[in-house]
Structures are given as structure tokens and as C-alpha cells.
Amino acid sequence: MAQHRVIVVGGGLAGLAASVRIAEAGLPVDLFSMVPVKRSHSVCAQGGINACNDVARQQGYSEYQHFDETIYGGDFLADQPPVLEMTNWAPKIIDLLDRMGVPFNRSPEGRRDLRLFGGSLFKRTHFAGATTGQQLLYALDEQTRRYEVEGKVNKYEFWEFLWPVITGEGDARRCVGIVAQDLRTMQIRAFRADAVIMATGGCGLVFGKSTNSIICTGGAASRCYQAGAWYANPEMIQVHPTAIPGADKCRLMSESARGEGGRVWVPRKKGDTRAPRDIPDAERYYFLEERYPKYGNLVTRDIATREIFSICVDDAMGVGGENVVYLDLTHKDPDYLTRKLGGILEIYEKFVGEDPRKVPMKIFPAVHYSMGGLWTTYARGAFRPGAPAGEHKSGSLPPVGTALGVGMRYGAHENMRTNITGLYAFGEVNFAFHGANRLGANALLSCLFDGLFSGVSVVNYVREGEPAAKPAESLPAEVFDACVRQETAKADRLLATAAQGPGGPETNPYVIAREMGEEMTAASTVVKSGPRLEQAAAKIASLRERFSRVRLEDAAAWSNQSLSFTRALGDMLILAQIIIRAGAMRKESRGAHYRVDYPDRNDAEFMKTTCAAYDPGAADPHQITYRPIDADLVAPRARTYGKVDG
């Protein structure tokens, strides 16, 4: 019998959850990652992971309310059934992590402790100190290592995914493997697989400085896009309200700081030069609390970000006239803070040199998360209400229970599959679940949910779908060889430019990358407008032209990081183009996407998924269309978070 195999590209939370689930089902997994998987970007996640729990439940909360919050938080752009399935699974996922040994914080009675997070009035966020992502990633890393020892998972660390190998045309396209490069030896080769899961995370580096890790370029997703996979909602980029601006990156101050009581303020008097503790309470402007009495500092991220931005940029009320506001924890007990938030307070101390237990932190918004990503589909589950429900009130009976498969059909082959058979997208690179704005502590959940729930779909597809009759192993070598030739030629062309000698800033990849980041941050983050986006499109086009003449300064045939970086830069410029184009075309404001020239949400025209398809032969390769969304569970309603005027 043929030996089936699955390739997982990416060893963050999503990739590891998938690897464990698939290996457990008996299919061998080849796991690729640019970094040792334990060092993946998921390690940065701080605040926690959401799930309905016994305490919240007895206060009137439910899985269904978690679902309703997520849809409302995402400003009604997400397909609804997958979100329902995810929030229904959340409590089971927490239990599983608990069994794996994740040191979740404990209550005095030894139960899992909970904290508040944005977009909810209930404590439903589970956490391990302020390094929850690290603790979750390590737990999955340990389980993966166990399967590695048993020979069921094969790791390719320090390998870079370059291209998906696809056979057939149109609807008959099928992904049968990948081409990858060893970042040490620089060997480029093909790997066969019956299914390929992309779990390569977000694309923060397109914006230069973000809260992301250095490897979050989006390069892998861009390559899939260029190979024919659709890219959805590229314009939906989350800017986190509270980060420490830095020279090399913006370091996040997790929403948990506000969840544990942190208050955001500026001096009421413009240009007040007093030290923060010398400013009496009455002379402080707690603008989030005053404007949103219901949610206070815990309004959603897009709203908090815009308010901070407007205080600093429009009203020039930033601390000391600069683009910063205070995030204040100094009213809390220092020991309590260390216990609950130690990890992030340490980051602040280390990088700023002040103790946030004693001095309010200075923060400003920074690019954080990509709601958009590779387009995926799913099989709808059993729940089909006659009419969409209105806002779910806590304490009332949910219209549907938590039985397996009410949202998505468990085990269906197409769950979280791209438009190409055999090619799946899990985790942040998957556009599903978060709509136009992600709620804090929902990302880790969606990564794990993808791996655990849709991992089973991949197994079923491999055993029952096309690979059953025609395993990748049996296919002729030519299709694989052709992709290797293509990628080798690309790499050789870039390496050959080193012989021309340096060409100055015009053609230096690091300079082009910096200019791209600055332009994207200026034009396409908190506040966008048609004319500004047009200007940005021209700038990116000129950067692409310069990139066509790019020159490497390193021709080494061994461990050449400049090659890897420069290649990814080319792919980031392509993502930048669709981020801008989709932003210009979406003539409304929704969630993280705010257009000054179209400040209102326009459901009639734009409650639709932006879908970008790449046609390399066309004069304009980016073809953007709109797809209807599955929105018959909850009716759209105005998203105000109880804002009051003033």
C-alpha cells in the first residue's frame, strides 16, 4: 500500500496542533519551519485564550455569547458558522491544554483563574502569567517532540517554504507537495505530500515595525497567492492600541494590562509638563472610560486605537506633545501585578528602563495582527435558524447548543481548505473567524481550533479523497522538477546580482524594505483615505520597479540570509499591493478598516469578503472581487460598544 504523507508548513501553535492531531491519526507528518518550532512567533502571545467556563456560565455567559461577541467584534464580516463551531469547542481546548501541563494561573482553590479582556463584560480569558502564547506553544512543542521520537513527525527546521507544487488546471487543481530550501546548505528540493497545510502566521513585517517577530513577512502566503490560492480581506489589519514604540520593533503591552485594571489617560491640560504622579485625578482625562462607560478601557482594539490616535494626532493631547498616552497600573498592588503580568512588565522594564508598577507606561498603537489571509472554505453544520437572531442577551437561553457539528460539519474534507484541493490554511494565515477586527485572546483559540478540528478533515481527505486512488508518491517527477527549476532560477538570479557590486540605497533590499514599511504604516493603518491610498499604490509600484533591479551584497552559497530576506521582500511588495488596493476599493468603514472619506459601515454594498486572485498573465495581475458571506445566524447591528457623546 502506498504511504501517504502530510506536509505542515509552520510550527507555530496552528502548525503544531495540526501535526499532533494528524500524527495521532496515524499519518506521517513532515513539518517545515524557518526557525526551530519552539521559537515560532506564537511564543510572543501574552494575554490569554478565550473560552466559556463554569464561573462565567453561572453569571449568564455561554459559548453562544462568545460567538455573538466575536461576530459583533469582527463587525459582521466573518462567515458565521465556523465561528460558532470554534467557540463551542473552546472549553474543550482549554481542558486539553490543561492536560498537556500548561501552567494556567490558579485561583486560591486551585482552579483555573480568569481575567477580563476586550469586547466582553465577562471573565472568559484563561492565562499563564503574561506569557500565555509561550506556554501554549511549549505544550504543543513537547507533544510534537514526543511524536518525533516515535518517528511519526519529521521536522525540517531552518527550512523555508518556497512554492506549492500544484497539478492540473482550474477546478481540477490539486496540491501535491512543496518546494523548500535549507537555509543552511541552501539546497532547494521538492517534497511530495498528499495534503499541504499552510500555518505560516501573519504579515506584520509588510508594515516595517510591528509587534510581530522578525519572520512574520507573509512571504509564504504571498507565494501561495501567486501560485493561484485566493487571498481574502487583505485590507483588514489590526493595529493594537498599546505598544511601546521602538527602534527595531514595537513591543506589545498586552490587553491583559487593561484586563487587570490598567487605565488609559492623558493630562487634561495640553502640554502639561508635570510628572504623571503629580497630576491629580481630576486633571487626568481617562478618555476611554468617559467615552465608553460600559466597556471603559476594554473597548475593542480598533476603537481604542482610533481614540488614542485621535487624542494624539487630531487633538495634540499626547503626553509631552508626543505621540504617546499613559497606560497606568500604578494604582494596583505591585505583588499582584507581578503575579498576573510579570512577563510584560519585565519587557517594559527591560526596554524602557522604568518600573511600570511605579510609573505609568507610555504607549502608542502598532500593527499587530492580520485578520485577512488565504481564503478558505468549509462545510456548513446542522444549525440553520429560520431567521437570524438579534443581539444575544446574557442569561437568556442560547438558540443552539454545543453539540459537535452545529457550526461546521466535523471531518468534512473542505474545512479550512483553500480554493485549491489539498492545500489548507490554518492559524493566522487563514482569513476565517475574525472578520474585520479580532477580539483579544481569540487568535490562540483559532490556531488551536484549526489544528484540532480541521486536522481531522485533512486526514479524511487524504484517506478518502483524490490521494486514496492517486497518492502523491505515484505522480510523475516532472511537475516537482519544474517547480524546483523555477525556484532555483529565482534564487540564482538574485545571487547573481551580488557580482554587480553595491548599487546604493536605490537597489538595497534593506532600504527598499524600510521605505515599504514606512509607507504602509503611514497610508494603510489607523486612518485611510482614497487619495492617500492612491499615493501609496504609486509608491509601492515604484518600490517594485526598484526591486526588479535589487542587488544583494552577499553571494555566499552557504547560510545566505540576504537571499532569503530579499526573496521575501519581493513577495511582501505583492501583498502590500493587494492590501492597498482592497483598502481603496472598500468604500466604507468597518472594524479595523477606517476610511475618513467613508466613515460609515455600508452593509448593502460591503458586507462581503474581499477576494483577491492572482493572474500572472494579465496586465493587472490582481483581480479583486467580492464574495457573499454566511451571515444568517446573527443579524448585523450597529457596533457602538455603548459610546456616549462627549
Binding site: 495521532e24 511564543v43 527591560k350
Partner: protein, 272 residues
């Protein structure tokens, strides 16, 4: 470390010298190169290396290549960017230039870790560190990923102990500083080589978990064999360099005691 010296006032607009120990590949000769750089306010070692990458010209005016180094999170939580800075092993992302080179003409030296084979320049291959985790079965042997209810409960006190141990980011600082831990390029000998503090501490982490303890005896078997706890000279260099303040001395003590008890139990049960 949570405490650090008060910041000195860095001189704005200064230029400093960065001397880097480089090698083209494993087993290739080392060479030193010096670059002059104007650091950005608040910048770290990584931002210096990025500046050099954008224009890699040495102080002698010779055009070189961008330096190769490893990094990830840039906030001291992934462990990737570890190197030897001014003779001390630490993370380059959390090493601020203003702190270590505040004056014009100040020098910074960067070297790759010495206990792991160099891949290129400042990038080393720490596969052995992860191999140690396999050797020690550093995981909780769960019954699979199906929904089987919650895990064992633990007190807030137990959680606090395990949490700190579990923040180990496999950076290898403790191994670089350890007199007993030496470079070993032959993978087949890793099984018999000194485990080191990160391994001792991770073994303790899993021994202390109710389900993880199922494999305690296997772990203690490895820890009492060649390369195990008996080879630790108790110099305590390890605990001084751990960036996460992991109580490695306590872990070494705990493993020492557990290994002794394990030996006694084996002796009484007649198994050798």
C-alpha cells in the same frame, strides 16, 4: 534579569565601534571585523546589526557582507538571538546599546556562542539542546487529544513553581557558562555528554506534574547515568546567566535528591 543598573546618559549622535567574530561556515577559520555605527536612541544590538547589513563597510573601508545572526521575537522570549556580548552570554535583542556603549568611541564585541557549532558568523546550531529534551522525555504523556475533561488540579503555589520553570526558552546561556558543558559536534556522543542546567530544570518541571510524573523513573534513569547530575560541579555559573531568573540551583538540588532516592528505591527493589 528583572533588575538592572540605572541607565547612564547616552551621548546623542555618537559613533561606536562594533567588533564581530565571523566565520564563513562550520569549521571555517574565524576572522574579526570592525564596523563604525551611529546607534539609534533606545536601539538594541539587533538594530546595530541591521544597520551594518544595510551598508556593510568595515572601519578599514573594505566592503564586507551583511553579518549572519539568528533572531525571532525581539523581546527576549524566543531565545533565538543569544550570543556573547562583551564577553558575556545574553540575548542581543534585550541588550540596549545605550546601556553598554553610551559614549562616543565605545566598543562592543560580538561573538558566537562557543559550546555549539557555528553555522555562520553569529548563528550557532543548538540542535543538541532540543535533543536533550528528547533524551529526558520532557513532556506530559497524555492519552491523546480527544476531549477527556480537565487535567489534574494544582495549587496556586505549585503553579507558581512550575510556571517559572516552564519559561525556559532553550536559549542555552546556562550551557555556555557551564564549565562542565563542552562543544560536542558528534551527534552520536550527545547521549553520553553532560546534560546541563536547562535539562535538569526541565526534568524537574515534568517530574512535578501529576501526569508528567509517569515518566519520572525514566528521566531519573538518564539523570543518574553518564552525563547526568553527578557530573555537575555545582559551580553555579548557570544560574547567574539565566535571563529568565529560573532557579537553576534549586532545580539541580531537587534533581540530585530525586536521583539519590531513585537509587535507594532501586537498591531495595533489587533492580540494578
Amino acid at each position: 534579569m528583572t533588575t538592572h543598573a540605572p541607565r547612564s546618559k547616552p551621548v546623542a549622535g555618537r559613533k561606536i565601534r562594533v567588533t564581530i567574530k565571523r566565520a564563513e561556515g562550520p569549521g571555517k577559520p574565524f576572522r574579526w571585523e570592525t564596523f563604525e555605527v551611529a546607534p539609534e536612541p533606545g536601539g538594541n544590538i539587533i538594530s546595530l546589526l541591521q544597520k551594518i547589513a544595510a551598508d556593510p563597510v568595515t572601519v578599514e573601508g573594505r566592503r564586507s557582507t551583511p553579518v549572519v545572526w539568528d533572531s525571532g521575537c525581539l523581546e527576549e522570549v524566543c531565545g533565538a538571538c543569544t550570543m556573547v556580548i562583551n564577553g558575556r552570554v545574553r540575548q542581543s535583542c534585550s541588550c540596549l546599546v545605550d546601556d553598554i556603549a553610551p559614549n562616543p568611541g565605545d566598543e562592543i564585541s560580538l561573538e558566537p556562542m562557543t559550546k555549539f557549532p557555528v553555522v555562520r558568523d553569529l548563528w550557532v546550531d543548538r540542535a543538541r539542546l532540543f535533543d536533550t529534551l528528547k533524551r529526558l522525555k520532557a513532556w506530559v504523556p497524555i492519552d491523546g487529544t480527544y476531549a477527556l475533561g480537565p487535567g489534574p488540579t494544582e495549587t496556586a503555589g505549585q503553579q507558581a513553581v512550575r510556571y517559572v520553570l516552564s519559561t525556559c526558552m532553550s536559549c542555552g546561556c546556562c550551557l555556555e557558562a557551564c564549565p562542565q558543558f563542552n562543544l560536542e559536534t558528534d551527534e552520536t556522543r550527545w547521549d553520553k555528554s553532560f546534560i546541563g542546567a536547562q535539562g535538569f530544570s526541565q526534568a524537574r518541571l515534568f517530574n512535578d506534574h501529576a501526569t508528567g510524573a509517569q515518566l519520572k523513573s525514566d528521566r531519573l534513569g538518564v539523570l543518574s547515568a553518564q552525563g547526568g547530575i553527578a557530573d555537575c560541579g555545582n559551580a553555579q555559573n548557570c544560574v547567574k546567566v539565566c535571563p529568565k531568573d529560573i532557579p537553576l540551583t534549586e532545580s539541580i538540588g531537587a534533581i540530585g535528591r530525586a536521583v539519590t532516592l531513585h537509587a535507594i528505591a532501586k537498591w531495595f527493589s533489587g533492580r540494578s
